[in-house]
């Protein structure tokens, strides 16, 4: 990850809240969208609160564009109202008693501009986000996508040096989501400062973020490009999100003994030691009888514990050594008369196994 003092954001801090502790070390360069992916309660919102100055850090420091925003050691703390930060909240938090134009003009006004200057700043952002026609509406009269644009315009109108987005698309219905997401991506590309984007939706993270960190239980468990994390997830949580089977095991040449039971044959690349193995559900071949001759190197028996119909395929939840999720076509389910409790044989080619090492990040 690039460490740039210039216009970037550096967080190296702990925030303690009762029993929960967030301990992160991250840097976001100007123009970079840093995605923060994690389950509920992982500390994503706490991270944004700390960056915005709504929550002081209990140890460490936060620096933005070379200026210390918060430092537990020296006691420096810049109040939220004094930070050059734009925050798009999960449910937008548009002021219900103000019009769209007044909402967008709020920040320039609060940051000391005169009424006319604030209004013209607002009209610039209303125009850029195609909101001019809605200027006189109240937030209650907006659709979800419109409200999202107003929230973005309101945050940007304060000319922030850092943009914080908390689940920016989660309040939208599936229909408008993709459109709004595409538009958000364009606006994020125009933003010159660093941007922290919190989400629990992997697709959103993959599409919008340049770099990703995965937060679990208050700690960063993985970081890298979205493509890297999607291909080689480090934890079950991410593997589930991106729809991969993930196993921890011990490699010894072409043989991997899995921690949870079972074994895989892998292409021998001289790997020794602890590894992770990721398998796509569609790479698993399901047969009702033991395959006689096959080039696949891995064959094992399993029992079907559940079937779920996805858009165009059926996902089988299989109990075996190892347990696995496998995708088959609805036609295959009918042909092989697959049902809960059926015994089946599974095969997977060694070349369909993604084997990688992963050193768990120790907290600083």
């Amino acid at each position: 990850m690039t460490h740039e003092g210039g216009g970037g954001l550096i967080v190296d801090a702990e925030v303690r809240r009762g029993d929960f502790m967030l301990a992160v070390k991250l840097a976001a360069a100007p123009g970079q969208v840093l995605g923060v992916l994690g389950p509920n309660g992982a500390g994503k919102s706490t991270l944004l609160s700390a960056a915005a100055g709504l929550t002081p850090v209990t140890a460490g420091h936060i620096t933005l564009a070379g200026q210390v925003m918060d430092d537990a050691d020296t006691g420096t703390f810049v109040e939220a109202s004094g930070r050059p930060v734009g925050f798009v909240f999960q449910n937008y938090r548009l002021f219900p008693h103000l019009t769209v134009a007044e909402n967008v003009a709020f920040s320039p006004r609060a940051r000391g501009q005169g009424k006319r200057a604030a209004r013209s700043a607002a009209s610039y952002w209303l125009d850029r986000l195609r909101l001019t026609d809605l200027a006189d509406r109240k937030p209650g009269q907006l659709s979800g996508g419109q409200a999202q644009r107003v929230a973005l315009a309101r945050a940007l109108a304060g000319q922030p040096a850092l943009l914080l987005l908390d689940e920016p698309l989660s309040a939208l219905d599936a229909g408008t989501r993709l459109d709004v997401q595409a538009e958000l991506k364009r606006h994020l590309a125009d933003f010159t400062g660093p941007c922290l984007l919190v989400t629990h939706d992997p697709l959103e993270a993959l599409v919008l973020a340049d770099q990703l960190i995965v937060l679990e239980g208050g700690r960063i468990v993985q970081e890298g490009t979205p493509a890297h994390i999607a291909r080689q997830p480090a934890t079950d949580y991410v593997a589930k999100l991106v729809g991969l089977n993930l196993y921890a095991g011990h490699a010894d040449g072409s043989h991997v003994a899995l921690t949870g039971g079972g074994a895989f044959v892998i292409p021998d690349q001289g790997q020794h030691g602890d590894v992770l193995v990721a398998v796509r559900p569609s790479a698993i071949v399901v047969s009702s009888q033991r395959p006689q001759s096959s080039s696949a190197r891995n064959t094992w028996q399993a029992r079907i514990a559940g079937l779920t119909l996805l858009a165009d395929r059926v996902r089988l939840d299989l109990d075996g050594q190892p347990p696995v999720l496998a995708d088959v076509t609805p036609a295959a389910v009918a042909e092989l008369s697959l049902d809960s409790g059926s015994q089946v044989w599974l095969t997977v080619k060694a070349t369909d196994l993604e084997v990688y090492t992963y050193a768990e990040r120790q907290p600083a």
């Binding site: 709504l54 002021f95 109240k138 209650g140």
Partner: protein, 286 residues
């Protein structure tokens, strides 16, 4: 032994009504119905009596008597003044109670709401002991500024404020507690300092409750009797408010007393209707 109820008759109309409601019988058992009817009678009959006994023909004359007009005018402006004072100093106190934390806060809240349950006469006595000519504050007001408060219109406003302000405070404090503080956080991230947040976000968001609290406060101030008569006395034109005028008129001019009572009843109904509107909307901003 299990006793079974004998089947009762259910008319077609009653069947249709119950089916439409989708519920069981709604008939009220007699042991509940009788006391309930007595309660209704007790609450409504006296007011009906007031309407029946009202000298409708000479109502205008009774109200235009100089005493009545003076009392009405005095009551209206003192109640309005005490409401204004309550807004100016009570709203900030409500904010302090709802949004900050400090040692002794619970005790302070109890003290502030005490006048709600305190007999108003006791409030009047307390005011007299504090601000009276020999009171521990009044003595200095008198000797330093030559200011005498008791038995003046200022005393009326003070007595009314003392009794009525807690209504505004608890209404607004409740609204502030239940208001979504996320909007204030959002305002802070947009660069608004605390006072700007208060002025541009907090106050407008609790405006409906502020209105309701002000109406309650005003109604309570308008009806104030005990504290006022104790601390301010009953000088016509000076400190004799409507309730006090009603009380004294009852002895020598019952028609005027009834007419004044009708005016107060009308005001109460208007207050009730305006609050009902507020409560029906749920007390939140649109």
């Amino acid at each position: 032994m299990v006793t079974r109820a004998a089947p009762s008759r259910l008319t077609a109309r009653e069947r249709a009504r119950r089916a439409a409601r989708g519920g069981a019988s709604r008939s009220v058992p007699a042991p509940l119905l009788v006391p309930a009817v007595i309660a209704v009678g007790f609450l409504v009959l006296p007011l009906a009596g007031l309407l029946i006994r009202a000298p409708w023909g000479s109502l205008g004359a009774a109200l235009s008597g100089s005493d009545a007009t003076q009392a009405l005018t005095l009551s209206l402006w003192t109640a309005s003044a005490s409401t204004a004072i309550s807004l100016v100093i009570g709203m900030p106190l409500a904010w302090v109670l709802a949004r900050s934390s400090f040692p002794g806060q619970r005790l302070l809240r109890a003290l502030v709401t005490l006048p709600l349950v305190l007999p108003p006469v006791v409030g009047g006595v307390a005011l007299l002991l504090a601000f009276g000519r020999t009171g521990f504050i009044g003595r200095y007001l008198d000797s330093w500024f030559g200011l005498t408060i008791p038995f003046t219109p200022i005393a009326v406003v003070m007595a009314e404020t003392f009794v009525a302000m807690p209504f505004l405070i608890i209404t607004v404090e409740g609204a502030l507690r239940s208001a979504d503080q996320g909007f204030e956080e959002a305002a802070a991230t947009l660069g608004a300092k605390r006072m700007t947040v208060f002025r541009r976000i907090t106050v407008p968001m609790v405006a409906p409750s502020l209105g309701a609290g002000a109406v309650l406060c005003w109604a309570r101030a308008l009806g104030e009797f005990g504290a006022t008569v104790t601390f301010a006395g009953s000088f016509p034109g000076q400190t004799e408010t409507m309730p006090i005028a009603v009380y004294y008129a009852l002895e020598n001019d019952p028609d005027a007393a009834i007419a004044l009572s009708l005016v107060l009843l009308l005001v109460s109904i208007v207050v009730l209707v305006s609050l009902r509107e507020h409560w029906l909307r749920g007390g939140s901003a649109p």
